[in-house]
């Protein structure tokens, strides 16, 4: 086969393989949590959305299926880690009940933010189990958020992971010879 034709087909196959509709993504809607209970899963989903909410810059953690990612990670984690998270979620729920006498999931957005402000108070120097849970939850949720194609494209504006004939490099006007 002519080399240029071969290259053309190689690049074409990458483009085809990267059409989002062709990815065999999990069935997020029908997903049954495997590490957490249904109630814990809904709480985690609400907690992730409070951490990384939908706003004018793009979708939030709920649309990115961050809770799915976290449940799968916990499923393959040690029992001690899964227990830390379960205890942490129970701690969040207790905090919401104490402040607003209702579950975190049914709290209003400002109420959820108030609970999260309490959770985040010691994130730079965590002291107790709940603090440690929050630090770990936040880090893993951020990883999960940016692993989502939806977030990469609609929040970050990233259009890569595709086949390009050339790489333009920097096109910012501040640089005298941006193409170098």
């Amino acid at each position: 086969m002519n080399l240029q034709r071969r290259e053309f087909f190689a690049i074409l196959s990458v483009c085809a393989a990267n059409a989002p509709s062709l990815f065999a993504m999990p069935d997020f809607a029908g997903y049954q949590p495997q590490a957490l209970t249904q109630a814990e899963y809904h709480l985690l989903d609400a907690l992730a959305e409070t951490l990384l909410p939908a706003d004018e810059t793009g979708p939030g953690a709920h649309s990115a299926h961050v809770a799915y990612y976290l449940d799968v990670v916990l499923k393959h984690s040690s029992t001690a880690k899964a227990q830390l998270w379960k205890n942490g979620l129970a701690g969040v729920e207790a905090l919401a009940q104490k402040r607003f006498e209702r579950s975190f999931a049914t709290c209003s957005e400002p109420e959820r933010e108030e609970v999260m402000a309490e959770l985040a108070k010691l994130e730079s120097a965590p002291q107790n189990e709940l603090d440690h849970f929050f630090v770990e939850f936040k880090r893993t949720a951020i990883d999960a958020f940016y692993a989502s194609i939806l977030i990469q494209r609609e929040h970050l504006g990233y259009q890569g992971n595709t086949a390009a004939m050339e790489f333009p490099g920097c096109t910012h006007a501040d640089f005298e010879h941006p193409g170098i």
């Binding site: 080399l3 240029q4 071969r6 290259e7 190689a10 690049i11 196959s13 990458v14 393989a17 990267n18 990815f23 065999a24 993504m25 999990p26 409070t50 951490l51 990384l52 909410p53 706003d55 810059t57 299926h65 799915y68 990612y69 799968v72 990670v73 499923k75 393959h76 933010e113 999260m116 402000a117 985040a120 730079s124 936040k138 880090r139 951020i142 990883d143 940016y146 692993a147 194609i149 990469q152 929040h155 970050l156 504006g157 990233y158 259009q159 890569g160 992971n161 595709t162 086949a163 390009a164 004939m165 050339e166 790489f167 333009p168 490099g169 920097c170 910012h172 640089f175 941006p178 170098i180």
Partner: protein, 536 residues
């Protein structure tokens, strides 16, 4: 047992073994390439284009990283670490570690060969041959100790790298000696008449190139060797013994276990070991060969480093739609301490610089806070940051070496290697210098330091486990070196080494291009000696 005779047996199919097989087969010799791993299929066995969510459950269940990567085939438990967190990137597959390298291809310069038994001028023609075959891209930068090569069209830098370059230019204007240049890598940027597709700038190079554009032993020299009709590849075959004549001064065969578990002997007129710096030393130690100097396993060194990251507010409004390019690092801080050595440490370092968003790995930070403010900050940091990754040459000393573990054995009953790494004052002093220099550059570029090590101690240093060199070094004196200047053992006339274990000394530059150039030269010497009947 089966009995087969070859002119040369090459063990290991990584960067050095791959090129040796091709050069020797092309010279008309009958070559057997013995590789413990199997052939991998790009796009099926590895391929970074798949989204992380797609196979998250399946991959975590298999105790793999979320991303489908060729490094899944690495064997991380193969060695026993001793001291300061050494690592060993043994990748069992046809092509070895050439499958997961980033392609950085920098010539060593005249200064770097100062203590070697060969000079830059001796190696230069082999660099040129290697660059042509590998399709190395780059710019003509005119740096005296990182000479230009035979390049394909260079790949531009991103905005973050340009910002750092501005900082370097400002410091140079004040008299500082340093350079900032675009990186050079082994990926075709132009249509060519070789084996591989043109790079499509997806940025997944180190996960394994899905369309095989990046140079690997498996996609270029081994197929070329097979085309000659002189090369036989024995994949899934592990060498278990080196057999010599009674004098132990001539190899006559190797014993290996094939993929079905059968043991066989492979007789050869010459043996090339290209198993990796750690593994080649291990096999020589196990077999008690080529070690009259006592230097096998000694003089181990690698690259080490740490990172400093920068934030450039001036990049807030840049176009960040596609920063992929050719993996993360597009810029290189180089030329440090070439002209005038540091007063605080021996050797030098370079700094690989990258920036921007990256598929499945946007290099995010973890700022404090939550909600909309956190989201805004995360986005801004991802778009406006740059990372400076130090690559320093570890001081070679008696504290760093490879030997055999008397307790742990592999599935063939062979002792596993121990890798001894102990950072020394010189290493820490070099790292401190890197942090200080990086901060100066960032400030000169009107940026802010986003992250740096809290304290530069041995605990903060990270070893590059793919860059080990020097356990079987070349030298003119048989009392202080294992190999002569041709990569031939002083003690055994028909034993040659084709991996990076041959390095006499180590500069800051990446090892693979030099490994390939030296293996090419060694193979030509071997073929000439074989034709002249000088291999016993």
């Amino acid at each position: 047992m089966q009995r087969t005779i070859y002119d040369v047996c090459v063990v290991g199919s990584g960067p050095g073994g791959g090129i040796s097989s091709y050069v020797l087969a092309n010279a008309g010799l009958k070559v057997a390439l013995v590789e413990s791993g199997r052939w991998l299929k790009p796009g099926a066995d590895f391929g970074g284009h798949s989204p992380i969510y797609e196979k998250l459950d399946e991959r975590l269940a298999a105790q793999r990283s979320p991303l489908l990567s060729v490094t899944d085939f690495s064997d991380h438990n193969h060695f026993t670490p001793v001291g300061d967190r050494p690592g060993h990137g043994l990748l069992r597959a046809v092509g070895g570690r050439s499958l997961c390298w980033a392609g950085h291809s920098l010539r060593f310069g005249p200064l770097d060969f100062k203590s070697w038994p060969i000079s830059y001028d001796t190696v230069a023609p082999y660099y040129a041959k290697a660059e042509r075959l590998m399709c190395v891209y780059g710019n003509k930068d005119g740096l005296w100790n990182m000479p230009d090569g035979e390049f394909q069209k260079g790949v531009p830098m991103r905005c973050g790298e340009h910002a750092l370059k501005k900082g370097v230019q400002r410091l140079k204007a004040e008299g500082r000696r340093m350079e900032f240049v675009p990186l050079r890598k082994a990926m075709p940027t132009e249509f060519h008449d070789g084996q591989r597709a043109k790079c499509h700038y997806c940025g997944h190079c180190m996960n394994g190139c899905e369309v095989d554009a990046k140079y690997t032993s498996a996609n270029t020299p081994i197929p070329l060797g097979l085309k000659t009709g002189n090369l036989t590849v024995l994949s899934g075959s592990m060498m278990t013994r080196i057999l010599t004549d009674e004098s132990k001064r001539r190899v006559r065969a190797i014993e290996f276990v094939d993929e079905r578990g059968s043991t066989a002997q492979l007789e050869c007129r010459a043996l090339v070991l290209a198993c990796s710096t750690v593994e080649t030393a291990r096999h020589l130690l196990i077999n008690g060969l080529a070690n009259s100097s006592g230097q096998v396993g000694r003089n181990l060194t690698s690259h080490f480093g740490l990172s400093v990251s920068a934030f450039f507010p001036q990049l807030r409004n840049r176009d960040a739609s596609n920063d992929d390019g050719t993996d993360y690092y597009h810029g290189l801080l180089s030329g440090l301490y070439w002209d005038e050595p540091s007063k605080n440490f021996a050797g030098t370092y370079q700094v690989q610089c990258g920036s921007g968003l990256h598929p499945n790995n946007p290099r995010i930070q973890y700022p404090v806070g939550f909600g909309r403010a956190l989201k805004r900050e995360l986005k801004e940091k991802a778009i406006c940051s740059a990372n400076m990754n130090m690559q320093g040459a570890l001081l070679s000393s008696p504290k760093k070496f490879v030997d055999l573990d008397s307790e742990r054995k592999d599935r063939y009953g062979l002792p596993l290697p121990r890798v001894h790494l102990h950072y020394e004052e010189n290493d820490v002093a070099m790292a401190k210098d890197m942090v200080a220099t990086s901060e100066e550059i960032i400030h000169a570029a009107h940026g802010e330091v986003l992250s740096k090590p809290k304290e530069v101690t041995a605990d903060a240093l990270q070893i590059d486990y793919n860059h080990w060199v020097g356990t079987v070094r070349m030298g003119n004196d048989a009392k202080t070196s294992v190999l002569n200047a041709d990569g031939q053992a002083h003690d055994i006339v028909n034993l040659f080494v084709g991996d990076s274990s041959v390095f006499t000394a180590y500069p800051e530059k990446n090892p693979t291009l030099t490994n390939i150039a030296l293996a090419w030269r060694m193979s030509e010497r071997l073929a000439e000696k074989a034709k002249r009947g000088e291999l016993g």
